[in-house]
Amino acid sequence: MSRMVEDQRAGIQVSRRGFIKGCTMAAAALGLSETMVPKLVEAATSPKRPPVVWLHFQECTGCTESLLRASHPDIGRLILDIISLDYHETVMAPSGYQAEKSLDDAISGNEGKFICVVEGAIPTKDGGIYCKIAGRTAMDILDDVGSKAAAVIAIGTCASFGGIQAADPNPTGAVGVTKLLSGTPVINIPGCPPNPISFLGTVLHYLTFKRLPRTDQLGRPLFAYGRKNHDQCERRAHFDEGRFVEQFGDEGHRQGYCLYKMGCKGPQTFANCPAVRFNDADVWPVSCGHGCVGCTEPDFWDTMSPFYERLPGVTIPAGGRGIVDAATSKGKVILGAAAGAVGIHAAVGVGKKIFGNNEDE
């Protein structure tokens, strides 16, 4: 069946059952009917499927780890299998000059045909010197490889929007792929880490339909990021009914009530976590009693933190304090000042009236 099943390269193998199960899960995530599953399987096993070059920049390898260590092992293997990886620094055997050669080999002769996956942000400050591989800056490598690719998949929030290294004060000037690359179609699969199914679905969509899935304004595929977590959450009935957790461990928490007051960012976050869930164990943070932190949104480290407050940390106006706090105390000052001004103004007016030199009278 698939290449790896046939020759069992690298000792990784996926059973046919696991393979079809994975494709079916991806089809479900994509919203395709089950009659499409054979088409996905066919595309995923076609010998003509495009090679993949996987670039690592400023990152923690968490995205790769989460793919490989999915508790449903077939998904991780399936991904490695389907995408005929020609270059991936974490999992490939060659190193040093051999590794550089594999990159050259994968690209040369394949211009406009291969898929480039980017994991990690790209630092741009001081000429991009804060991330170098084999003597070349990340900017340089992305420019070179990305511009020759048929499409770029930015995996994780770092590659999509800059991630944690782009958090204030962003010392290395880190940015996501879309900020640097033009000319090549780019799709963002943000998340910290993203759900492997969202990545798999995007790849299978590309292999099957020869184009990237439709995206929202931030370049995220709609099949995975088209709806807010809050609108798919199993605790939503508690939200509408006003049953809230006030404190971790309280009665409401033990009853599984809504985490809105604990700072859950589900209402502001587009993702498929409640629908697709993680680790094949049917969990996502809210199902475990913790709010969503909004990891699929741009600048979430700055704008969603502190994670346990309702509307915190929007950096635009309030310089780090959390805007609710800042706005509330500013609001008090402003209202106080307005009241003060009004009071003074009124007092002067009354005073003038008493001393009888008001021209209007």
């Binding site: 007051k261 976050t269 509307l311 929007v314 402003i334 307005a338």
Partner: protein
């Protein structure tokens, strides 16, 4: 003293004013509740939907607010002489002069007073700013209300980037309206007392009284 009554505000403008006021009061109360739902319940099995109801009222009031704003934008261009924007923005020599006069008057400097039928230029600036802020509030609101609509995503992403930031700005703007209302009501009452032209009743009846002495 002889006063002459002048019709200043059209029915539509007065309708705008009061639907704007009532919707803002409703939006601030329900908005604060959405921001911090101060009720909590352990009751299971009843369906009171307090949060759903508050949000529902907020959204309906949001539509009233939006409609009122659209009416006012229309009147800015096609309303009567006092309602059009060039009558009260400091973009004509007459209005620039009026702006300084008004500032002087509010500082109790005896710079003389020009009686106008419409708004003075200082008030005009703040009303206009309020309409702009209201427009931003509407975009943020609809961005949150229809998160899956491509149209609102375009505007929302352009102005706020993410839902989170849109929400933050929406919340901050709430304070703007609170501050505006406090100062506005004070100034209106002050003018009603010192100008003696029936200013407050003008926003109900549409007419102001100008005395011959001026």
């Amino acid at each position: 003293m002889f006063y002459e009554r002048h019709q200043v505000w059209s029915v539509l403008l007065r309708l705008f004013h009061w639907s704007f006021v009532l919707s803002i009061v409703t939006l601030v109360i329900t908005g604060l509740y959405i921001h911090f739902p101060w009720t909590n319940t352990m009751v299971i099995g009843n369906s009171y939907f307090p949060v759903a109801t508050m949000r529902y009222i907020h959204f309906v009031a949001g539509f009233v607010f939006t409609a009122a704003l659209l009416v006012r934008i229309y009147l800015l261009l096609f309303g009567n002489a006092q309602e059009r924007f060039w009558d009260f923005l400091p973009i004509t020599p007459r209005n620039i002069k009026n702006l300084f006069k008004t500032l002087g008057r509010y500082l109790y400097l005896n710079v003389g007073h020009e009686h106008r039928l419409g708004h003075n230029a200082l008030a005009g600036i703040f009303y206009f700013l309020t309409f702009l802020v209201a427009a931003v509030q509407v975009v943020a609101g609809f961005f949150m209300l229809y998160p899956e609509s491509v149209f609102w995503q375009k505007w929302g992403t352009m102005l706020f980037v993410s839902q989170q930031q849109g929400r933050g700005i929406h919340y901050l703007i709430m304070w703007y309206f609170g501050v505006f209302a406090a100062i506005h009501i004070y100034i209106v009452v002050w003018n009603d007392i010192f100008s003696r032209n029936g200013l407050i009743s003008s926003i109900f009846s549409g007419g102001k009284y100008i005395s011959e002495d001026y």
